[in-house]
């Protein structure tokens, strides 16, 4: 994380891409060389009454253009305020934070699995390691919630979209759909970002496949750099359950070690 610092960026795009979901593109004077997939940006709002920064995954980045893209759902007052920011507005962003995803050198094929807004983590993984073959599975509650299908289609060898109610794509839980395709794909690893309930379902669905499952967790955060100890998640290490900091020891963990 040598390139980590507080950067001032200028908003190029802040537009609605689905119901309550926005895409923001920010340009900086410089972008760190070492930025990778599944890292996050800690965004300061231009309003002192909301003093905590908001952590958003870096949905995608472009080193040449010095831009990052963030996709966020409007879920509270902070994201509501953010959704009104205009092109040309300046924002402060601590970037890049978190361990990110470093694919093993032996990997050739990776399944990217996204649940709802968790899908926003996936494009940057393909950007960071374009030499790998990606098989993408996205699950959403319904057609209104579908995001990033086009972006991910471009970088995937194959893409499958499912909705719980069948209003778009295949009907059913995307974890079950993936499980049926596993023998055909034979991926070297599965990378998943979604809600906790999805990780539980994934653990069940892929039991017996003997494939590394890597997940990206989210948490309410304070400092974002490992000092304040509020973004704790429970992990099992050396047979012992203990707390890890999502911001600095994560957000990427092996699903095996996460206590759900």
């Amino acid at each position: 994380m040598s390139g980590m610092k507080d950067r001032t960026g200028e908003i190029l795009v802040n537009e609605k891409i689905a119901k309550d979901v926005y895409k923001m593109v920010v340009v900086f004077d410089d972008l760190p060389e070492d930025i990778k997939g599944a890292q996050f940006a800690h965004v300061k709002l231009n309003d002192a009454s909301h003093l905590l920064r908001r952590p958003f995954c870096v949905c995608d980045f472009d080193k040449q253009d010095r831009t990052i893209t963030m996709c966020y759902a409007v879920v509270g007052k902070g994201t509501e305020l953010l959704s009104h920011y205009k092109k040309g507005d300046k924002i402060n962003v601590l970037l890049p934070l978190g361990n990110g995803f470093t694919p093993d050198k032996s990997y050739k094929k990776i399944v990217l699995l996204g649940g709802g807004m968790g899908s926003a983590v996936l494009p940057a993984i393909a950007t960071a390691d374009p030499q790998l073959e990606y098989y993408t599975y996205l699950g959403f509650a319904n057609a209104d919630k579908v995001v990033l299908e086009e972006e991910l289609k471009k970088v995937s060898k194959q893409i499958t979209v499912a909705t719980d109610d069948g209003s778009y794509g295949k009907k059913g839980f995307v974890t079950d759909i993936l499980a049926k395709d596993m023998d055909a794909i034979k991926p070297d690893a599965v990378f998943c970002c979604g809600p906790e309930v999805m990780y539980k379902a994934l653990r069940r669905a892929l039991e017996g496949f003997n494939v590394p499952i890597i997940v990206s967790l989210e948490a309410r955060m304070g400092c974002g750099i490992g000092a304040c100890l509020v973004c704790n998640c429970k992990v099992k290490r050396n047979g012992k359950e203990e707390y890890a900091r999502v911001c600095i020891e994560g957000p990427v963990f092996k699903l095996d070690e996460v206590v759900l």
Partner: protein, 304 residues
């Protein structure tokens, strides 16, 4: 002649800016943003006799111009500290204040005895953590307990000044300041966080797993200023003021109300360079206006 140096309980600080316990770890994370030697001092994360896991998630919630936390004193334990960060920090050009907490008087005595071997410059006695069920806070409410725990720690820790950190969740903080002084405290720091709640109206549940937490941030500053002033008028020992400081002008206000030095807490979360910026801004102000910060302490001019 302009001057930023302050002396708190016999310990000289190159400037009055200290980072507050629980907001700065042991300095390592922020040292990646700036050289922490620019600070006057650093308070460590609260240390306990045994390692503590702390409270389950969620531990943080936002409130207008503030936040609540309920970390619950997660820390690696005092022995781990003595073997690692204590040594690393002693090599830095910054005053180190080890914050210690316990859940019974025996704990406080035992940890104070261990601190005799620490290279830290001072001890900050945490008797006001609102996030640990079995203790801390219990010692911080009644004046007789404040006095007793301070006296016990003073007796056990022979080679360092002891600063008693006071809770604002009391009926009269000046009484507790006097009790700490009576117990032999070399100084007091205030305020710790204010007990509070954040509630989700949809689920009807508190946001924090621990149900309640400690409120901090800019919203507590007026309360802290008044309490510092109250304590300044109650005791002779030096006061370290904290609560919602986000700028050098806030620092000046705390010193005018009676603080000899100040701690920066929640602001570190919003601005990782915040404490460093405050040191720089304060330095500039003091030089431009040819001020000795010591002349500010308690210089408040009340309206008639």
């Amino acid at each position: 002649m302009s001057n930023l140096k302050v002396n708190v309980a016999g310990v000289e600080f190159k400037n009055p800016i200290i980072t507050a316990s629980g907001t700065f770890g042991f300095g390592r994370e922020y040292d990646r943003f700036y050289n922490i030697d620019v600070l006057g001092g650093l308070c460590t994360k609260g240390l306990t006799l045994k390692p503590r896991q702390g409270n389950p998630y969620p531990r943080i919630a936002e409130s207008p111009s503030g936040m609540l936390n309920s970390v619950g004193l997660q820390n690696p334990g005092v022995d781990h500290y003595l073997a690692t960060d204590d040594i690393l920090l002693s090599k830095r050009d910054v005053i180190v204040i080890a914050n210690v907490a316990g859940s019974c008087i025996e704990d406080y005595i035992a940890i104070a005895e261990k601190m005799n071997d620490s290279k830290a410059d001072m001890i900050e006695l945490n008797i006001s953590c609102p996030n640990v069920k079995e203790g801390g806070m219990a010692f911080g409410v009644l004046p007789k307990n404040v006095e007793a725990v301070t006296a016990a720690v003073k007796k056990a820790c022979k080679n360092k000044p002891v600063i008693t950190k006071l809770s604002p969740n009391v009926s009269c903080i000046a009484d507790n300041a006097r009790a700490a002084e009576q117990g032999g405290a070399d100084g007091i720091s205030l305020i710790n966080t204010l007990a509070g709640m954040a509630v989700n109206y949809k689920t009807k549940k508190p946001i924090l797993f621990n149900n309640t937490g400690g409120v901090s941030g800019a919203c507590v500053k007026p309360i802290a200023l008044k309490m510092v002033w109250d304590c300044f008028n109650a005791v002779k020992i030096p006061i370290i003021g904290l609560g919602g400081i986000t700028s050098y002008t806030d620092v000046l206000e705390f010193m005018i109300c009676g603080a000899r030095a100040v701690e920066i807490g929640t602001h570190n979360f919003t601005q990782p360079l915040g404490a460093k910026d405050i040191v720089e801004d304060l330095t500039k102000y003091v030089e431009e206006n040819d001020i000795d910060v010591n002349d500010l302490v308690g210089s408040l001019i009340l309206n008639a």
